[in-house]
Subunit: 226 residues, 2 copies
Amino acid sequence: MSGTLYGIGIGPGDPELLTLKAVRLIAACPVLAWPAPLQGDGLARTIAAPHIPAGKTEIAIRLSFRPERDDTDDAYDCGAATIAGHLEQGRDVAVLCEGDPLFFGSFIYLMTRLSGRFPIQVVPGIASPMAAAAVALHPLSTLEDAVALIPATRPEAEIERLLQAAESAVIMKIGRHLPKVRRVLDRLGLTHKALVVERATQDAQRLIPLADAAEAPYFSLILVHA
Amino acid sequence: MSGTLYGIGIGPGDPELLTLKAVRLIAACPVLAWPAPLQGDGLARTIAAPHIPAGKTEIAIRLSFRPERDDTDDAYDCGAATIAGHLEQGRDVAVLCEGDPLFFGSFIYLMTRLSGRFPIQVVPGIASPMAAAAVALHPLSTLEDAVALIPATRPEAEIERLLQAAESAVIMKIGRHLPKVRRVLDRLGLTHKALVVERATQDAQRLIPLADAAEAPYFSLILVHA
């Protein structure tokens, strides 16, 4: 009997925004894996820390975290192989995933590598658009609104087309793309309605009207409703 | 000192998908309010039931639940007035919200009516697109994918334009709009990739390839990745 691979959404940062199911499975699984930078624990391990009992086997999946990283990283091959070793021995493995595992989550790359060989279950988590909307008291959508979730890494014309197609938008992964995004929102007359939310629900959380934002970190997003 | 109004996301249906923060605040608030049909408890109250201690004051906000309901319903005025009475007396009020409070949530209509008069906090919840993706093991987005969240109530041409602008889409509130959505997906050659998810994480959950779906309830959605 092989173990089960769990992708566990741990939410945006506040350790109280884990679900009961996430907390139960983290406690129950003997092996935990988490994406991390080349050194240190990384955000996922830090968010989940209050809920991790002593005595777990832990696997750090060391990623270079290029903003537009691809899925060919050797770290995923290596992490998947280590995880597979535990699953083959019948040990359940919980992968800690910031936000939601299947929404821009690195869990997808592990799932792809291990799919078909082992049972897989995903526990959804609070995704960053909902976390940012909550701290900003910003309605994402009512009635017939369409919502576009847009990586700021996209070309300028494509961001514009998506913003024109939907009533509500969340532009993610801002970082060095702030000037480009600002140009598009300026052209559409939306800058005065746009809010930058940095690190929603984390200690370093900040909310800044786009008009006043000089820069924005990679882990920030812009909320705008036309 | 007035009380605080809490909008509490309680997730898609599985009572284990409440966050720790939601459970804590439901236990702490003396007054609970929840949207409900004209008779009975409704889904939000049912999902949260295992986490509701005895002795709460409860306010049912009775809605007619027309699929494209507007925000002029007298029930919101009446519910907001009752809630305001408790807040003025210094009692905190937790509004139970299926999914996430600010993503197609009726909490938005209460927040609009009470904003500026009382402190308001929102606890984000697991939204239905993430819940459906989890049970289907369906990656919503990687790298530079844009995701469109589209009410099926929209006109056919607008659904088509949104689907063409984004790599990934979740089409919500299907119900009687199934034939229209199927026509659009057929035209775009996406029907064979589309999955209908009904009542994700609830006991009555069903997953059906769109090609095999004869009908779909209002609380179903379609996942499709181009």
